[in-house]
Structure formats: C-alpha cells, structure tokens
Symmetry: C2
Subunit: 219 residues, 2 copies
DNA sequence: TCCAGATTGGAATTGACTTTCCAATCTCGC
DNA sequence: GCGAGATTGGAAAGTCAATTCCAATCTGGA
C-alpha cells in the first residue's frame, strides 16, 4: 500500500562518463527485461550485465520502477527510430507487406524468442503498474498512428475508398502483429505471425481492389 | 542450473476432502496468476486466498512449477468447456460474431483487466519455461482447431470457396483476438478488441460473399 | 590549481519467498 | 474399533532481492 506519490530521486547524468554508464544500464536492462520479463530481471542481473554497481543504478533511476519506466520510454523511441525509413512510407500494399515481413525475418533469426518488445512488457505490466500502462499505451499509439497515416495517404490518393475506416484497419493490423507474434512465440515458429498478418493485409488489398473497380463511388 | 529432470513428488488426492482442497488451491492459484501474473503470485498469496497451509500446496503439486503447470492445464480445459455450446457451432458469420462479442462483453465487465487467461500466461512463460510453453501451445491449438472446424464446415457447405485456406483464417482470427485483447488491456477499453476482431470477420464475410457470387469456381 | 558536486564501490539492512521437516490429526477399509 | 496412509499446521532453514548508506574517487568550471 504505497500512498505517498513521492518517488525516489533519480538524478540526471551531467558528465560524459555518467551519460555513458546510464546508457549502458538502460541497454542492459532493456535486453534483460525483454528476454526474461521485468519480474525475472533482478537488479543484480542488470549490475552484472552492465558492469556497474548497485549505487549507479539507484543513482540514475531511483528504484526498479523508475528503471522499468525508463526502459519503456527507451523501447518506445528506439524501436520506432529503428524502423523510421519504412514506417514513414506505409502507404502501399507492398510497403505494408515489406514492413511486416521484415519483422518476420527478425522472428526467424531469434527463433521467435521474446515476441514484441513492447507487447511483452504490456502484457506483464498493464494490470499491475498504472504508470507503466500509460507509457505502453503511448508506444502503441505511435505505432498505430504510423500505420494509420500510411492508410490515410492511400485513401486520399484514391487507393482506398473514401468511406474506409482506416483507424479500424490500422488497429486490426497492429493486433494481428501482436497476436501473431504471441502465437509464434508459443509455437516457436514464425508461420502463425506470417499468416495472421497476411490475412489482414489481404483484406486491405481487397479494399484497394474494390476502390479501383468503382472509383469515387461510396458503396 | 537444474540438471536432473527429477521433479518433486506431487501426490494425487485419494480422499474426498483432499480433492476439495486440491481444487480450492487450483482455483485460487489460477485466479491470482491471471490477475497478477505467475511471478507476481507467491505461495503465501495462494495460501491466504485458498485458506490452506504451505504443506498442502507442496503435497499436491510438488513445487511452484508443478502448480503453474496444473494451472495451465486447468485453464486449457475450463475455458474450453465454458464456451462449449458456442465453440462447437462456429460455422457461420453470425456465430463467429456472436462468439467474439461475448468475449468483448466480458472485457467490458472487468474493465479489460487481464486480457486472455491463456494469452497472459503464454507471454510470461513461453521463453522461460519450456514445459509450460508446450502446455500453452496445446491450449492454443485447441482453440484454433475449434475455429478451423467451423470454417471447414462452411467450406464444405459451399459458403466458402474450395480454395480458401481455412487454417490461415483461423490463425488470423485467433491472433486478432489475442492482439486485440492485449491492446484493449493496455488502453483499458474494449474498442481495439472489437475493431480487430471485426475486421477479420469482415474479411471472412467478404470471402463468403465472393463464393456466393461465383459458386464452385476456383479463381 | 582547487573545490563542489557528480560518480562509484561495496558492505549492511531488511524483508520476502521457496522449500523442507516433523509431529499431529483425520479417514477409510477391514 | 484399529491401524496405515492421507492430510494438515506451523515452525524453521536457506536463499536472494531491493534498497540504503557512507566513504572514496573523479570531473569540470572558476
């Protein structure tokens, strides 16, 4: 029962070396929490992996909750930046397929371990850490926005009918990605992910074909 | 580093009272692990909730891993049985919608807490407990089979074209359910789930319409 | 160069959890 | 009614994690 909202002080790094150790901690924590879950990652684990002492972690992040929050923000920005070139041009069926397939290749590479960086954290933390839930919702919103923005461009261009609910389509694709990754993780095989994603993209493609058949006509 | 595969002895209940306490433990553990995660559920937690002593838990389940395995099997059978009447007749668009909407109503009722019983466990355990992963894969396979069996009947009946990949469609629907529930959990709002699921069902409905338009013709 | 503040190492505290153990009690077939 | 085995309570060992604390060292600006 923690009633006071006061969180342990987390000091910002003001020296070059400080910034580097802070980054080292963040990267190590992100990787460990992704692979073993937040609960399965102890501070000593992070110490060993980042080669730092306990003081440093508590100095820069306050407590484990603060470290977790930082990891969420880190994943939100890093994963998004990593895919920036592709993410900004999800405005064709081919681009969507290419983007999803790239994730599939990554799944193959790691034998489907871990699933999605944000999805795993979301499933573990949503119900037990309200502020973490907020951060994760923000992350998902960014992904949804990227997809939706591409679809919207397709609609403006006339590839999709003016009455298409691009928001719903974007959510459906994001859900297919998350659910597909979960199924692939459990089965240790990327096939379920590929199938789930392809069905949704097929559906979007069908809508494009329909728009082509009767341009500028709303049902 | 546990090298020996010997697991702690878990004795079966041979008396009526024994069976009842075993059930009580199982139910309490299942609920707690669903709401707080496996790692977030301690043996003392289960003791309090089921009103038993530690001996009883270790007597019937050997250790925490054994208890977790029992919970997975319990969820696999219970959740499936709960939906039996509907699950056996997923052979029409309406039936699919009705089934998915029932889950949506349940999400509304609990404010989207927890997501899917099996999905949550899967995300947490897949990468860290191989035998748990196996049990969860079995559970998902049962769900997929139920959906696929309904779609197959639709295909045999001619509602779906003979060339439809019902297996892929079933996986896509299952992924939409899982991914949709995750997004709804994070956003504390059942809308993402409804949208994701409806898009996939819309797609299946389109296929049905296509089959109706050109019966017995394979593209 | 010099100092205030940043950074770091490592020990110590506190608490919780898993698991084991043993003695007591109960149950059921004979 | 009796005894073997099932069931139960509760204490206790052993482990490990989260966090705090303090003293030592380093760094960048005046």
């Amino acid at each position: 029962m923690k009633t006071s909202g006061v969180e342990p002080q987390a000091k910002a790094a003001s020296t070059e070396g400080g910034r580097r150790t802070r980054d080292r901690i963040l990267q190590a924590a992100a990787e460990l929490m992704f692979k073993q879950g937040v609960a399965g990652t102890s501070i000593p684990d992070v110490q060993r992996s980042a080669r730092v002492s306990a003081s440093q972690i508590y100095h820069y992040f306050g407590d484990k909750k603060g470290l977790t929050a930082a990891v969420i923000e880190y994943q939100n920005t890093v994963k998004l930046e990593q895919q920036r070139p592709l993410l900004d041009h999800l405005d064709s069926i081919d681009a969507l397929r290419e983007w999803c397939e790239r994730a599939a290749v990554r799944l193959d590479a790691v034998h489907c371990a871990g699933g999605c960086e944000i999805g795993s954290l979301a499933s573990e933390l949503s119900d037990i850490d309200p502020s973490a839930r907020l951060g994760l919702a923000t992350g998902f919103a960014a992904w949804q926005a990227a997809i939706e923005s591409g679809l919207t461009r397709m609609r403006e261009r006339g590839d999709l009918g003016a009455d298409e609910d691009v928001s719903a389509l974007a959510v459906a694709l994001l859900a297919a990605i998350q659910g597909g990754m979960l199924l692939s993780q459990v089965n240790q095989d990327a096939t379920p992910y590929r199938r789930a994603v392809n069905v949704v993209i097929d559906h979007i493609a069908d809508r494009v074909a329909a728009a082509q058949a009767s341009p500028s006509t709303s049902r």
